[in-house]
């Protein structure tokens, strides 16, 4: 089917007509991000710009607005900290980009249990001691490592309603909950690098990213922009064409 796209072109070649091409080209790529045992869909907006004779500037904007909707749903009612004496559940979470930072807000339910030791290694969770609802708010930023973006929490603030505050403070729970949450979230985020993977056709453009950060898309939409470049040569074109041929998107070899 796509073979036939070549044909109108033959016409164009004969008539001598040439479409005007810009020195910049954009691609929108459907991509997925493996997170634990699921894949999160996102869109990669790739902008290629000729910057000098042998170098193409690459801007990779990861549009995570889809994930922004899905992730809170998936996280809902999931315990991010769950040990013998303490359980922290995310009830309602939302995050978004604001200018060049990521804002994260939500509610967590912190439940304390009795915890008794049953043997050298085992603990037995007992009765529920206490349960409180706290508001969580945090800011995140993006770090660039090994050509991938990592989301990193800057800090985390937990606040509990007045009525429950004394209780919490008494138990000195809030601080330990916060530490545990930070550790748990960072662990997950560290296992979840955002590596913009280019489709096979464009794989010969193997950009090196030099900087990256959060980027607001529209109103509050979460995006991460990576900037880099790639050195090119005539064989870059041949590589792209060869992949297109292998995928039978253009006519085959003689």
């Amino acid at each position: 089917m796509r073979l036939w796209l070549i044909i109108p072109v033959l016409m164009a070649a004969v008539v001598g007509a040439r479409a005007p091409y810009a020195q910049q080209v954009d691609f929108i790529i459907d991509a997925t991000l493996p997170v634990r045992d699921t894949d999160l869909p996102y869109k990669l907006n790739l902008t290629l710009t000729a910057v000098d004779t042998t170098r193409i500037g690459v801007g990779a904007l990861l549009d995570l607005r889809g994930a922004q909707k899905i992730v809170p749903e998936r996280l809902a009612d999931n315990a991010i900290v769950d040990n013998c004496g303490l359980q922290v559940r995310l009830d309602d979470i939302s995050f978004g980009a604001k200018d060049d930072a990521i804002d994260l807000d939500g509610e967590v339910t912190v439940t304390l249990f009795e915890c008794s030791r049953t043997s050298e290694r085992d603990f037995q969770r007992g009765q529920e001691k206490n349960s409180i609802l706290a508001n969580m708010s945090t800011e995140a930023t993006v770090e660039l490592r090994d050509n991938c973006a990592y989301i990193k929490l800057i800090d985390l603030t937990l606040t509990a309603p007045k009525a429950q505050r004394e209780q919490i403070l008494e138990d000195d729970t809030l601080e330990s909950v916060k530490e545990l949450m930070l550790a748990a979230v960072d662990l997950v985020l560290n296992e979840t690098p955002l590596c913009p993977e280019l489709p096979a056709e464009l794989a010969s453009l193997d950009p090196v990213y030099e900087s990256g950060g959060p980027r607001e898309i529209g109103d509050g939409g979460l995006g991460i922009l990576l900037d880099g470049s790639v050195d090119v040569s005539p064989s870059t074109i041949l590589d792209v064409l060869t992949v297109l041929q292998q995928q039978e998107l253009i006519p085959g070899r003689p």
Binding site: I7, M11, I29
Partner: protein, 286 residues
């Protein structure tokens, strides 16, 4: 001298005509041709033996073969282009292409036979018998019938004051000019038939027929150079075609070879990617 030029002119028209034809039928015939090109790909080695085409005429790191049967005046004409690209320097690509025109050559007499000009003052009809490639030239054998008439008021042909049939054998050669092959007559042998021919010569009318045919054929050649129908992947490179022309494939078979090159910079690569995107082959999102 004339009719070969005219025949060549028509050949060119055929080339031109078949290409737009491709466009309109493109969607319907997609599946069928896919299958065709698949088969030809798998028979690579056999194909070389059978085609008689020297692979060095389209050598390159990236090679592509386009095969298509295009109906031309309801006659299906097979058309094949082999092309190759390779890096010739850090900033240049070399391009070689070979067009197998034997299908066209075979069908040419069938396709080309017919009226060339039908005005009230002049009607020229062609009858092509044979098109043969000899080395880097093309020999065209056929005849042309010319009628000279007076125009009626309604611009229809009226009284015919002269008519003659001319047998012609002409040799044409193609030159690369810019992106296109431009044909010209190398030599031609025209002979008006029979007694009328003798009379024609006496009255200097042979010249007039020659002139008419040369004029008409010349117009065709000037207006319709053969521009290699290369894949868009090549066209977006904006190559400079440096040399080429018609070539003989196996004994008598007609083909055309073209060699060119293209400067490649980051800008070109971006352009090529944009071109491929416009073609719809680089699509990664629903």
């Amino acid at each position: 001298m004339a009719s070969s030029r005219l025949n060549k002119g028509l050949l060119i028209c055929v080339l031109l005509a078949m290409l737009p034809g491709c466009g309109s039928k493109a969607q319907d015939q997609g599946g069928a041709s896919d299958a065709t090109s698949q088969t030809s790909v798998s028979n690579t080695d056999a194909a070389f033996d059978a085609t008689g085409i020297d692979p060095s005429t389209y050598s390159g790191q990236f090679q592509v073969k386009l095969t298509k049967e295009v109906p031309l005046r309801d006659i299906p004409v097979p058309f094949t282009v082999y092309a190759g690209l390779e890096e010739s320097s850090p900033t240049r690509l070399r391009l070689r292409a070979f067009m197998d025109l034997r299908g066209l050559q075979e069908k040419a007499p069938q396709i080309l036979t017919g009226p060339l000009e039908e005005t009230c003052k002049r009607q020229i009809y062609l009858d092509i018998q044979d098109v043969t490639a000899i080395g880097e030239t093309v020999k065209v054998k056929g005849s042309a019938r010319a009628q000279f008439t007076r125009c009626k008021r309604n611009e229809e042909p009226g009284f015919q004051y002269f008519g003659a049939t001319v047998d012609a054998i002409a040799v044409a050669k193609a030159e690369v000019k810019g992106q296109c092959l431009t044909f010209s007559i190398e030599s031609a042998d025209l002979s008006p038939r029979g007694f009328i021919g003798t009379v024609t010569n006496l009255f200097g009318l042979t010249d007039r027929i020659n002139e008419a045919i040369l004029e008409k054929g010349g117009e065709f050649l000037a207006a319709n150079p053969v521009c290699p129908p290369l894949p868009e992947e090549f066209t977006v490179l904006d190559p400079i075609y440096e040399s080429g022309g018609t070539r003989e494939v196996a004994p008598g078979g007609m083909g055309a070879a073209v060699v060119g090159s293209a400067d490649v910079s980051a800008e070109t690569i971006v352009k090529v990617l944009a071109g491929l995107k416009n073609l719809g082959v680089l699509e990664f999102a629903e």
